[in-house]
């Protein structure tokens, strides 16, 4: 019940910050739209690349806008910089809540608000940009989406805990973001990347937070592939839970709460 309260309070906060939320959303539009234009020019007369048509590409990037708004968390700055490095964590440690779940429930309203903007944006853009037919969302796709959200959050939260030991975490967060953009299929659908990158991407967790959720919505994944994706998400989620617990246990011992 108390988590519902926290959720509502942060939703209120998110609404107050709606202009900021709108701007974050506009930011998520720019690169995908540019890439749609890029491919419009690049694909030439044939309009095909490795079995992907121009409209497939359009659909992919437009769905990227929606999924990155809803599924991709950016809690590393809050956890790593504000809470750990700047000492904000002291306020949470004295409360009878799990810090992890508190952060998670604080994050949800912002994802929802971004999601609302994203869906509205998607509807408007699809009236201007031709896309392929999107099949109805199946239970497997829904599970993959939930898995992506959890995995994204866990990954960011776990990496953020490095701030217990390292002062300059900004560089590490930037590196992670760059790697996520490349291996997550943000520049190009993973299947269209050079082969050696595809192999690395499929074993990294990043592909399961963006590329696979999108292609699942597009209906490009067979049932076997969807099951495999869910298994991989599960494995990565378990790995990150373990990592988080270990880092939290040792990190808290090191935490000194300076600055508060």
């Amino acid at each position: 019940m108390r988590f519902v309260h926290i959720l509502l309070l942060h939703f209120e906060d998110a609404l107050q910050e709606r202009m900021r939320a709108l701007i974050w959303f506009l930011m998520s539009l720019v690169n995908p739209l540019l890439l749609i234009l890029f491919w419009n020019g690049a694909l030439g007369k044939s309009g095909m690349m490795n079995g992907w048509t121009r409209t497939d590409i359009n659909t992919y990037y437009l769905l990227l806008i929606v999924t990155s708004s809803i599924l991709i968390s950016h809690v590393e700055d809050k956890i790593g910089t504000m809470d750990i490095r700047e000492g904000g964590l002291v306020r949470y440690l004295t409360r009878p809540f799990s810090y992890f779940w508190l952060c998670f429930f604080e994050e949800i309203p912002y994802r929802l608000l971004q999601g609302i903007f994203a869906v509205i944006g998607f509807i408007i853009l699809t009236s201007l940009i031709p896309i392929t037919h999107i099949p109805p969302v199946t239970i497997w796709t829904l599970l993959i989406l939930i898995g992506a959200l959890l995995l994204s959050f866990l990954m960011q939260a776990s990496v953020a805990l490095i701030a217990f030991w390292i002062v300059e975490v900004g560089g590490i967060f930037d590196t992670l973001e760059v790697v996520r953009l490349v291996l997550g299929g943000t520049i190009l659908p993973i299947i269209l990347l050079p082969n050696w990158i595809i192999n690395i991407a499929y074993i990294s967790p990043f592909a399961y937070t963006a590329y696979f959720p999108i292609t699942s919505i597009q209906g490009k994944l067979s049932s076997e592939t969807q099951l495999w994706v869910l298994c991989m998400q599960g494995i990565w989620i378990i790995l990150f839970i373990c990592l988080y617990k270990i880092l939290w246990f040792f990190g808290l011992k090191k935490f000194s709460g300076v600055g508060q």
């Binding site: 701007i23 930011m27 690169n31 234009l37 890029f38 020019g41 002062v167 300059e168 269209l192």
Partner: protein, 262 residues
């Protein structure tokens, strides 16, 4: 003018001292900015790995555009980025008061007080990549094209500055919208692509976004021997007008400045 140059020289030296005083921050920031610089090169490699030309631009020409972006963007970031990032903070924390009370132009102080030396990395990366591409792809560059390119890049910088400063000025009315400037950084990504891209979206978009796109495409076109006099004229006129606008807008905004409470 002399006075401002003297003060800027002093600011460069103070910022360098400041950098030396806090070395830990330097390495982290240097690494971060370099990674993003590398990302732009990786992006263009990946995007052009399966196609040879985009809107009439060859792979090597797109590389030159990316390298130019790295140099210009690195220079822009070095001179301005810390100041723009702090714009919202400066206003919200009342530090703008301190700047407004100095007998020095407030736009100058808001724009150049801090120098971000870590972005030298991007300038170096871009220059090295540029030389590599020119050499590897045997691109013909004349002295005249280099001079014209260098001259036009200054106007590119004026345009980018005017855009950033004008948008940042909006923060005087909405101090909480610090991510407005973040939005601009995302828009900066547009500069990496040729302006011809916009043709794909129709005239409306071209009209709206063309000024931004011409910022870099025009100087690069002069470098690779595809000079266009109308584009050059457009860049120069636009950048000067936009610069003037940013100044007038700032002066107008200061009238609405309410200052934070004590």
């Amino acid at each position: 003018m002399k006075r401002y140059l003297r003060i800027y020289k002093l600011l460069l030296s103070i910022n360098l001292s400041d950098l030396m005083a806090y070395r830990a921050g330097f390495f982290g920031s240097f690494f971060g900015t370099t990674i993003w610089g590398v990302f732009h090169f990786i992006s263009i490699f990946i995007l052009t790995s399966r196609v040879n030309s985009v809107y009439g631009w060859s792979r090597s020409e797109l590389f030159i555009l990316t390298a130019t972006f790295s140099i210009m963007w690195g220079t822009f970031r070095m001179i301005f980025i810390k100041n723009f990032s702090q714009f919202s903070h400066t206003i919200l924390q009342g530090k703008l008061d301190g700047l407004l009370l100095k007998p020095l132009d407030s736009q100058f102080l808001m724009s150049v007080l801090k120098v971000n030396y870590v972005d030298v990395g991007r300038i170096v990366m871009g220059s090295v990549f540029m030389i590599y591409v020119i050499h590897t792809y045997h691109i013909t560059i004349t002295l005249w094209s280099i001079m014209l390119f260098s001259f036009l890049i200054i106007f590119s910088m004026f345009s980018a500055y005017a855009l950033w400063f004008s948008v940042s000025t909006i923060i005087i009315w909405f101090p909480r919208l610090s991510n407005l400037i973040e939005l601009l950084y995302t828009f900066a990504g547009i500069l990496r692509y040729p302006s011809d891209l916009m043709g794909g979206f129709g005239e409306f978009t071209v009209f709206f976004l063309a000024p931004i796109l011409f910022i870099l495409t025009t100087p690069v076109k002069t470098l690779i021997g595809r000079m266009s006099i109308p584009d050059i004229a457009w860049l120069i006129i636009f950048s000067l007008l936009f610069l003037l606008f940013s100044r007038l807008f700032w002066k107008h905004a200061l009238k609405s400045y309410t200052s934070v409470s004590s």
